[in-house]
């Protein structure tokens, strides 16, 4: 599926691996429960990503953030706005500097907000226009609130 990263259409090297499937050599995204169970072995992986569901409490995982070069926030339904807070906290409170991507059910028209709370990459739907996804990041030229870039 098309990936926008840092405002560019990009090749996606990452793959989410279901809990009962063996890992690739590199660029694996794992669930939080897998991470918690296999922490010792996973900790040696060079490029490791962590998928967080909406109901995660970010504070509970901050001690492990250093192990990940990517956090994927998975949005179950586009009306669930918890990922916006998760992203903001990861970036501004807990200083996560790796890639934060969103996956799941979101729409292009939400990217302006997602971009402002610190999301850096977007797994688009096949039918979505990558060009439009990048364009909507500039829908507004100014804001009242601070943005997390």
């Amino acid at each position: 599926m098309p990936l926008i990263k840092n405002k560019l259409l990009t090749q996606d090297n990452w793959e989410f691996i279901a809990d009962d499937v063996a890992l690739n050599t590199d660029f694996n995204i794992v669930s939080l429960s897998r991470w918690e169970q296999e922490k010792t072995s996973l900790a040696n992986q060079a490029n490791l990503g962590l998928r967080l569901e909406s109901d995660v409490i970010i504070k509970d995982i901050v001690d492990d953030l250093a192990h990940f070069s990517l956090i994927e926030l998975f949005i179950p339904v586009f009306t669930d706005g918890r990922a916006y807070t998760h992203a903001r906290l990861l970036r501004s409170r807990y200083g996560f500097t790796g890639d934060i991507r969103v996956n799941g059910d979101f729409m292009l028209d939400q990217i302006f907000y997602l971009n402002r709370v610190g999301i850096s990459s977007y797994v688009l739907d096949e039918k979505d226009s990558a060009e439009k996804a990048i364009a909507v990041m500039s829908d507004f030229s100014d804001t009242y609130q601070e943005s997390v870039a």
């Binding site: 586009f78 706005g81 028209d109 030229s141 609130q145 943005s147």
Partner: protein, 551 residues
């Protein structure tokens, strides 16, 4: 009043472009129905029974003449020559065509108006006291803080997809005229023991199907922490608010289920982490207060001999003055309520010709400004006593001088099934029926202060649960029935009304209201004992006995 900066104007212009693009993509089939629904709601666009409905924001109810004239022209050019003022100081158009709404938004933007976040599960329009800045019992004008909050809410990236809608109200007076106990967050300007002015913060109030009175989460908040505290509450709500059931998704349910102590703990912990990063500077507050400075009142006005004479000579004028005007902090001025509750007009509706005429009257008599009230009337806040007689005559000619403010026919009423896709029953015709029954103005005045609120469904847009008399339309197997509650109040003595008994049929509801009023007249201890006071003294039983006795 607040004048837009270039930044404010740019943002709302860009919002118009954004919504036009979204609507065009929807009409071309590029955005799915459910996705576009969320986008249009956040621009105030509902799809109703007959057509889309557009809800325009009236920031804390304050409107300029240019804005009123624009509403009139939109009513003429895009609608059926009228608009509707809501209980949240907003303005609704009932008949716009969807594809023309972007053009309406463009027209609104030309007079510093918008429809951003007037619906949807996001931060809504901040409401306030219609007498803000002029009330005698005011500690401090709440509007500068409302505007600071307005800017913070607009396009807030983190809180655009909340579990449910979120409403904030601010009051600066001893008497709460903004129903702050029944908002997701209610803010009261208060003075602490050290003599400093700040905010008492209430959280978790709300109406709708589960009416709950807000609780104090912080007795005193320094002004500079206003936004950080709001942000902390919203962040806790966004994470912990229920998303599994839309009827349990408001913050009032989170507060009730979690308990105020635990919510307070969470909010305070979050707030301590952000309060130093999100301070409202003294300069910001000073600059904002300057935007709401007093108009150029004529000082040293003495109560004109003419005014006293006019009151003396004309009983109709005297009656109107008594019911439809309120005291003003400046000698020689009064605030004038423009009643949108004429007997033959749906509550809160205003025609294009009335709007244009009102703009003219506001220009002539009230510094060119008009306020909307949460009881669906309008206010000309700064009228010289010497001008009242002339103004009354002109309002009367426009059918805007019905002397019924805060009385039995000053009914809050939702649009009901006539317009609304959610409604179970009609409501406008019930208001009409009550008006027809109470056909003598003397009888209405004898009933004294009385707040009757009518909603056509459980969503309670007309705040029936806090009406002195509340009427709620319910559907029983396709038939319209009405549930009555008594003794509610949205003011300082916030109370949720008590149920009278089983719902009554549509044909019985108006006679039942009449019976309730008869019980009150019979049992009040003296002529000046208000309905609410009598009810609190005697309880629901005497009313119940009378209404259900015959069966």
């Amino acid at each position: 009043m607040y004048q837009y900066t270039d930044k404010d104007q740019t943002l709302i212009n860009e919002r118009v472009d954004q919504f036009r693009d979204q609507t065009q993509r929807f009409l071309k089939g590029e955005i799915a129905d459910d996705k576009y629904r969320a986008l249009r709601l956040m621009n105030g666009v509902y799809i109703q029974t007959h057509s889309p409905l557009l809800r325009v924001a009236g920031p804390y109810g304050l409107l300029s003449c240019a804005q009123i004239r624009k509403l009139a022209s939109i009513a003429r050019d895009y609608d059926k020559n009228f608009c509707h003022f809501t209980t949240r100081q907003n303005i609704q158009f009932n008949w716009p065509a969807l594809e023309r709404i972007p053009y309406i938004l463009e027209e609104l933007a030309s007079v510093q108006m918008h429809a951003i976040q007037t619906s949807g599960n996001c931060l809504r329009n901040t409401t306030s006291d219609q007498l803000a800045g002029v009330a005698k019992d005011e500690l401090e004008d709440p509007r500068p803080y409302c505007e600071i909050i307005r800017q913070w809410t607009i396009l807030h990236p983190e809180f655009a997809y909340l579990p449910r809608k979120f409403k904030i109200a601010v009051s600066g007076s001893a008497q709460d005229r903004a129903a702050t106990h029944f908002h997701d967050i209610g803010l009261h300007l208060v003075k602490n023991d050290a003599g400093e002015i700040g905010f008492k913060v209430l959280v978790g109030g709300g109406l709708g199907r589960t009416p709950i009175i807000g609780q104090v989460i912080r007795p005193f908040l320094e002004k500079k922490h206003l936004l950080s505290y709001l942000e902390a509450i919203l962040r806790v709500y966004n994470i912990y608010g229920r998303r599994d059931n839309k009827y349990k998704a408001r913050i009032k349910i989170l507060v009730r289920e979690t308990g105020i102590a635990e919510i307070t703990k969470k909010v305070e912990a979050e707030w301590h982490l952000i309060k130093d990063q999100l301070e409202v500077s003294e300069q910001t507050i000073t600059d904002m207060c300057a935007q709401f400075a007093d108009p150029a009142y004529q000082k040293d006005l003495t109560a004109g001999a003419d005014y006293a004479q006019q009151l003396n000579d004309n009983i109709a004028f005297k009656t109107w003055d008594k019911h439809n005007t309120a005291g003003h902090k400046t000698d020689g001025y009064r605030a004038v309520y423009v009643s949108l509750k004429a007997p033959d007009s749906p509550p809160g509706d205003c025609s294009d010709t009335q709007l244009d005429a009102l703009a003219g009257l506001a220009d002539s008599y009230s510094f060119g400004m008009i306020r909307a009230t949460h009881r669906q009337n309008l206010v000309l806040a700064d009228v010289k006593e010497a001008d009242l007689f002339t103004l009354w005559q002109k309002l009367d000619a426009l059918k805007l001088a019905t002397a019924n403010i805060n009385s039995a026919t000053d009914i809050i009423c939702c649009p009901g099934i006539d317009y609304c896709g959610l409604a179970n029953t009609s409501s406008i015709d019930i208001a009409q029926g009550i008006n027809d029954t109470l056909d003598s103005i003397d009888y209405i005045h004898d009933l004294g202060e009385l707040k009757i609120n009518i909603s056509g469904c459980m969503n309670g847009c007309a705040h029936q649960s806090v009406g002195h008399i509340g009427i709620l339309g319910v559907d029983k197997k396709g038939v319209e029935w009405y549930q009555v509650t008594l003794g509610g109040s949205s003011e300082n003595d916030a109370t949720i009304g008590e149920r009278l008994g089983p719902a009554v049929s549509k044909q019985d509801i108006v006679p039942v209201i009449k019976q309730i009023l008869e019980v009150y007249l019979e049992l009040r201890s003296h002529e000046d004992e208000a309905f609410l006071t009598t009810f609190r003294r005697i309880g629901v039983n005497p009313f119940k006995e009378k209404v259900y006795a015959a069966d």
